[in-house]
Structures are given as structure tokens and as C-alpha cells.
Amino acid sequence: MATNILPMLPIILPFFAGVIMLFMGKRPIPHRIVSAITSALMVGISAYSIYYVYKNGAMVTFISNWSAPFGISVVYDMVAALLVLTTSIILFFTVVYSFQSIGYEREKYYYYPMVMFMITGIIGAFTTGDIFNMFVFFEVFLLASYVLITLGNRKIQLQEGFKYFVVNVVSSNFFLIGLAYLYSITGSLNMADIQIKLSNYDGNLAVMTLVAVVFIFVFATKAGLFPLYFWMPGSYNAPPIPIIALFGALLTKVGIYAIARTFSLFFQHDVGYTHQVLLLLALLTIIVGCIGALAYTDMKMVIIYNIMIAVGVIVVGFAMMDEVGSIGAMYYLIHDMIIKGALFLLVGFIIYRTGKNNSEDIGGLINSHPVVGWTFFIAALSLAGVPPLPGFYGKLFIVESAFLNDHVIAAIIVLLSSLIVLFSIMKLFINVFFREPREGLELRDIKSDKLLFSAVGLVVVSIVFGLSADFLYPVFEMAAESFFDPSSYSNYLMEVE
């Protein structure tokens, strides 16, 4: 059996790029070239992989040819393929954005290698088929993110970085506890194998509910769900813009992916309890996120609270666990990764240009930056879900699924949250671009062609994504299948035996 190398490439490429850059030493210009080339290559490879998976079904690679339930397998199904492509696109634009924004000192002290190691961990967590391997990849990207959040030694970064570190280490240890319970129940670590064992087991599985609660605790901390979001606004506010864009667009989404994967594969025996808890937490997250988004005028904070709203909406879709809800959640997940990256990059441009974080200190930027203004406007509409921009389709499916499952309150909260998202982001738009300029506002003279290229580029990607929703529907249907029909995910084990 020949090993298919294609699923491994998105993990191997950034890892080797990072290692090569470490050996290059403190030379930012070669680092820039290597990381830009690597991320462009990853976009190409992952786009081809989507086509390949669409034609041939999920790609599975058995590491060192150890057969499936015993060795580690990399399962590159449609969910992983879509998430890897989105991650690569965001990585490419953020790397280009970093050229002119992150600062020479940070570049010298291994900023790009750390970004690459973080991407290695994120993509590994998306593609692995082994739950312990997922823990290891979580640690890989968390360790790189601890470095990124503190890189530069500003006081706020060190202070918030330490809190971020403690919260994540404690939740990682709980991940291990959950894994230990799961292993003692099923005797396996391969996710597909666990799914088969649990669905064929007809004894009492009440203890699995305990595992479900431990997993909710772990992944809710990573994703920023309601009672465990407390670290997020502070920590995401601390580092420079490109790092926030990567964190906001990718890190919380890994938590959501892990929730969706584990809850669709493992916890199917007591859906009435576990998925209700998930739904309740998601709704509370939306409400808290709305309060935060309305309360702040600081541009970064408004978007950070908007991340929480989006996390809540996506988890509502996954908590329904039916076909419509899964398609909607999957679509909204991809949409939110792109648009949050785009918004952070746009806001970052405004912050670099004016030197102000607070939207009330700025005004009248539309005269000097009409293109940025209208791009921001389109991004805001896309975030709120105005058709034909992509936010609309995801929310449409999620709300439809909530109505179909008689969760009318959930549907209403999701719909109302769109209005609050629109209001909070329009408040920024009007403050920054349309009011009379505040006194003492001076535009800094910065090089900004690459900043604008990345920010506008991501918004264009989002528009194209929205316009091609109809064309992409079969792809998302295929992706959602592994959530509402978990046996389709574990099919590859049958073929091995």
C-alpha cells in the first residue's frame, strides 16, 4: 500500500519552512521570501486537494504504514480540506500584511518561523484522525501562540500573555483527563474506531456524558464559549494586528472544529443532554458577545466581541446535528474565518494610519481613503449577513435548522444577533469614516501598499465565496455529511479491514 503524501503536505510544508528559517538566522528578508512562497504553495496544494477529495472521497494516510486503529492516521476529508484551504489563504494574506506592519525587530526575532509552527499545529489538528494526536497538535500551535502573544516584550503583552498561558495550560490538562477517561472506556484513540466501538456498544454509556462535559470545558475554553471566554478580550487585544488576525481567524475556530468533530463522532448516546448544554452555552455566548460589541468603541474590542457572536452562531448550527444545520455551520465557519481576518486587517490599517485605537478619536477618513472605506462597508455587510455576501447563506441554513428542530428561541436570538452585529460594526464605520475629523488627528506617513493588498484581497475572497455559494453547495454538503452522518467518517476503517 503506497502512502499518499498529499494529505501530509500542508502539515510538512510550514514545518520545514519554519525549520529552514530557524537555520537562516536573524535575517528578515529571506524569512519573508520563504514564508510567502510557502504559504502561496499551500494555497495551491490545498485548492487541488479539495478538487481531489471531491472526485475521490476522503484521503487517508497511515503514518509509517501502521494500519488504521493502531497507528496514527491522517484523515483528509472535505471538512479538513475546506478548513486547510481557508487557513492557507488567511496565512498568505497575513504574512504579506506582516511585511509592513509587524516591525523589523519582531521579524528578526523569529516571528515568521513561529507563525509557520502555529500553522503546522492548526492544520495538524484539522486533519488528524487520532484524538491524542489532536492533543499534540493543539499543544504545538498553543506553544507557538504563547511565543507570538509575548513576542516584543511590551508590558501589556507579557501581562495578558501570562493569563493566556495559564488558562490554556489548565484546559490542556483537562483535555488529557478527558482522553484518559475516553481511553479507559473505549480502549482506542483513533476517532473513527472510537465511533464504531461506541455505536456497536449496547451497554450503559452514562459515563460518556462525563467525558462530554470535560470536552465541553476544554474546547469551550479554546473557542471562547460563554462562561470560559473571560481570557479572550484581554489576550486578543494585546499583540500586534497581524497576530490578532491569525488568532481571531484561526485559533478559536480550531476549538469549534474540535467541538463539532468530537460531539458528532463520540457523544451520540445522550444527545438530549450534551447537545442541549452546547446549545445553551452557544446562545449565552451570543448574548454576552452582543453586550460587549455594543459596549465598546475601541475598534479591536468590537471585533473581538464579534468573534464571540460568530462562535455562538456556528455552535448553534453544530448543536442541531442535522443536515441543514451542519451545512450552515460549516459554511458560516469558513465565512467567519475569512471575514474576521479581513476585518482585523482593515482595522489594523486604520490603526497604523491614525495611531488611534478608539473609533471616537477618528473621523472623516473617507476623504483620504475612499477605497478602504467602501471595502470596510462591504466587509461589515458581509459580517452581518446581507445577501449575496456569504454571511447570509450560513445564517439562513442555521436559522432554518433551528426552526425545523423547534428551537424557536435559538433562531430568534441568532436573527437578532445579526442586527446587533450590523449596528456595532456600522457604528465603527460611521465614526471612523464619516464624522467630522477630531482635532489633533494626524495621519501617519506609512508604507501601506501591502497592507491594503492583503486587506482588500481577503474581502474580495469573501465576496467571491459568497457569489459562488450555489456552485459550492455540493462541496459543503459533502463536508457536512461527516457531521450529521458520523459513520461516513469512519468508513475508511471498513475498507482497511
Binding site: 504563547y146 516584550n153 501589556i156 507579557l158 501581562q159 495550560v169
Partner: protein
């Protein structure tokens, strides 16, 4: 035997919780490493503690010890080693830049930043 190790790991996790809730940064870091020890002990117990059996599954072997928990713990120990060393460096930088190791003084945005 399983009962004893479970109780031991419970004691470790309880004392780790106490340390993590304290205000000194160094105590929090010690708490984190004790927490990981407790968790590792628990993984070991979950694979059942059987002595005197081979860890290799073969046709001629009827009882065998599960080697997987050891492999998992080895990985987890390496990770927690990396985390501990990183956290100590972070503590040092924190102390130099902020001039404190008390978490009470680490609230809000520091002035002049």
C-alpha cells in the same frame, strides 16, 4: 492498586488547584507542573496496572500489559517539560518588565504603553 494511584492523583490535582489559585506567579507555575503530574498518573491508571506481563501482543501471549498509556504519558511529559521551561522564562521577563510577581498587580492596561 488502581484505587491508591487514583487517590494519589486526586491529592496532586487538589494541591495543584490550591497553588494555581494563589497570587504568586511562581506558585502558579509550580501548580501547573504538579497538575500535569497528577494527570499523567491518571492516564497511567486508566490503562490498568498489571504487573509481570509482557507489553507485546502475540499469538502465544494470553495476558499482556497495555503499553499505550506509557507512550501517551511520555509525549505528555515532553510537552509539559517544554511548557514549564517556557513559563519560567515568561516569569523572568514578567518580573523584569512589570516589576512584580503578584497577579493582583497584573490587572488592566499598564500605564505608558
Amino acid at each position: 492498586m488502581e484505587l491508591v494511584t487514583i487517590i494519589l492523583s486526586g491529592i496532586l490535582i487538589a494541591s495543584a488547584t490550591y497553588l494555581i489559585l494563589s497570587k504568586s506567579v511562581l506558585r502558579i507555575i509550580i501548580g501547573i507542573s504538579i497538575l500535569s503530574h497528577g494527570v499523567h498518573l491518571m492516564i497511567l491508571t486508566m490503562g490498568q496496572l498489571k504487573r509481570g506481563n509482557v507489553p507485546v501482543l502475540d499469538d502465544s501471549v494470553s495476558t499482556y500489559t497495555d503499553p499505550l498509556p506509557q507512550a501517551l504519558i511520555l509525549t505528555a511529559i515532553v510537552i509539559s517539560f517544554a511548557l514549564t521551561s517556557f513559563s519560567l522564562i515568561l516569569l523572568l521577563r514578567n518580573y523584569k518588565e512589570l516589576g512584580t510577581d503578584n497577579t493582583e498587580d497584573m490587572k488592566g492596561v499598564p500605564h505608558g504603553d
